[in-house]
Symmetry: C2
Subunit: 342 residues, 2 copies
DNA sequence: ATCGTTAATGCAATCGTTTGCACGAAAATA
DNA sequence: TATTTTCGTGCAAACGATTGCATTAACGAT
């Protein structure tokens, strides 16, 4: 049988309410009593029942995590481990624990979120993706439930708190970097087009081309549905063009691996015949061959900051709506872009 | 204000208990009433409060996840994403959700587990590592709480349910494989020595050497504390030996990446001058260069099976103690071992 | 000695469910 | 028709905490 607050009360010769106040460390209880009660708790090995507590004070000390529905595929990307690590670090520091629901379909994820929120299982939610027309964000917004998005939300982004990299800027920077190295024919390989990241990064890429006075060829922009495997088709398509590119901006390290592997098969050497630059700077970037030049976006920090904002919001310390935090990024130069071209 | 069971009851003109029974789909309620109640729930947008429910029926429909304390380092290994994916898939299928606590130190993790268990926050626990002398496992065992370990527990493993790869066998197999390719000088690079995996794999390695009539040199066995970075030292030590090995068994793909990267720096070519074989067959194994020959251990399956066992145990369908499930593995041959030597 | 203050604790209602038991009506049996 | 079953539903007591309000004792101040 579980040790309850009543047992402790009896042991310490006080009322349950007193024990409760000792737990909350209320100043209204005398030092002597506190010690006696604490001793009793210790002796009996008392741990408060979280559900009773949540029920009574309408708070859960838990944060919900919403993963993309294709979790089956996406969760493999170390990006997620890393954000979660950031989230869980901050959460733990503030005494929150984490709750995950998953679902195979988008609908299942949505249902999971709804019952998590309506069932009062969590005090706030971190959404780990952002997609066009997302029901989840819409729902959270409508129900005025504390939440923050990692990545830039589409709908009504001015009213939503989110934490993100300046992907537009990053896309622009890497493209300019390639141009500085002497490349004129620069392609872009991205993931799913309805993800905010892809759109932003490709946007920055285009802007850079314009600013540098380079033409924008739509045929230079390809998007592959998934990570590594997708790379193959994309690369083949690019290389079969009349004027194949000499450099490519890839929207993700995982995908870059796939791209490089395909290039390798096709006996196109990186960086000599093709420069590759990508984003996220996952640890594998360092150990691929050649090691990847990649944009460090501080994934851990994204998670950490997001949780920070969420906690502020839950404590109502935050501005009612729409805080945005941009986590800085920087380019880590390794070998995949080589030196200057010619 | 939250919509409660009473609101639904009022709306449907029944007692709260009836609503409760409708939720549980009790056969004692007439079809007509059920429909009326369901309609009312729908209309009001009713979702049961999980805490009230948990409190009343002493069940949580949640599974706790225990990660290694060095989560800071280890969580980066895609192994974890993948087990969790397996766990969450099975969990979701059976209507369980996942709960994570984390801690920086071993002590913090332990405290997290205790309060998760004693606070009745979860119905069962999956432990995602196994180490010598682990307080967590000991505690779970003592409190007779349902749990399962992914990996082989040390203490009293006969009484603990666990799901694992036959790492001993796998270690033996890959070593023999290298010998078959003609290698006589085979080294072993492993992770932390107090992890069960390392011990098992190195055990298999030694056995294979013996069985094949090869000498066991302790200097051929090096262990590096962490993943990729650790690889460097280990490799340098090996290569500075009088008779450097021509092949190496690495206990993990991540580490293998580090090893290969160091070999690359030292201008030792893989597989020509050094064969590398490793374990886990993470997706990066396919895209490294050269692509890694690695043992596929079905990480997803480990998580899935573990959860399966846990659910059986929670439903008391399981044998009281000590079920063990071995998930099969197989070698995936790629290019890191090359062809036959000489 | 009386009264008002203050400090420390206890009482009891409440949070939103579940569930054993009681109850009345309808159906089945005698 | 009287009596027993069966069926469908409601009552009320848990579950284990929190918290507003009441209570009591102690202590100065008058």
């Amino acid at each position: 049988m579980q040790v309850t607050i009543k047992d402790v009360a009896r042991e310490a010769n006080v009322a349950p309410s007193t024990v409760s106040r000792v737990i909350a460390n209320s100043p209204r209880i005398s030092q002597k009593t506190k010690e006696r009660v604490r001793q009793a708790m210790e002796e009996l090995g008392y741990y408060p029942n979280v559900h009773a507590r949540s029920l009574a004070n309408r708070t859960t000390q838990a944060i919900g995590l919403v993963m993309p529905s294709a979790a089956t595929k996406t969760l493999q990307n170390p990006f997620f481990s890393e954000v979660i690590r950031g989230i869980s670090t901050k959460a733990h520091q503030n005494g929150y624990s984490l709750y995950m629901t998953t679902g195979v379909s988008e609908e299942e994820v949505y249902e999971g979120v709804v019952s998590m929120v309506q069932g009062r299982r969590v005090d706030g939610v971190v959404v780990l993706y952002s997609r066009t027309d997302d029901k989840v964000v819409q729902f959270l917004q409508d129900s005025k439930f504390p939440f923050v998005v990692v990545g830039k939300p589409f709908s009504d982004s001015s009213h939503v708190t989110y934490v993100d990299t300046d992907n537009y800027l990053a896309g622009r920077e890497v493209t300019k970097y390639l141009h500085q190295l002497g490349h004129e024919c620069i392609a872009f390989v991205g993931g799913s087009q309805d993800l905010a990241v892809t759109q932003e990064r490709v946007g920055g890429y285009k802007t850079a081309l314009m600013e540098e006075g380079l033409p924008i060829h739509e045929s230079y922009i390809v998007s592959a549905p998934f990570m590594t495997t997708g790379g193959a088709d994309a690369v083949k398509r690019l290389m079969s063009l009349e004027h194949p590119p000499t450099a490519v901006v890839v929207s993700d390290d995982m995908m870059a691996l796939g791209v490089m592997s395909t290039l390798n098969e096709m006996e196109i050497s990186v960086p000599d015949q093709m420069a590759v630059v990508s984003f996220n700077n996952l640890f594998i970037a360092e150990f691929s061959s050649p090691p990847l030049t990649s944009v460090e976006i501080n994934i851990f920090g994204l998670g950490f900051e997001a949780t920070n904002c969420l906690i502020e919001q839950m404590n109502e310390e935050a501005t009612p709506y729409g805080k945005r935090v941009i986590v800085p990024h920087y380019l880590v130069v390794r070998q995949s872009c080589g030196g200057t071209v010619k």
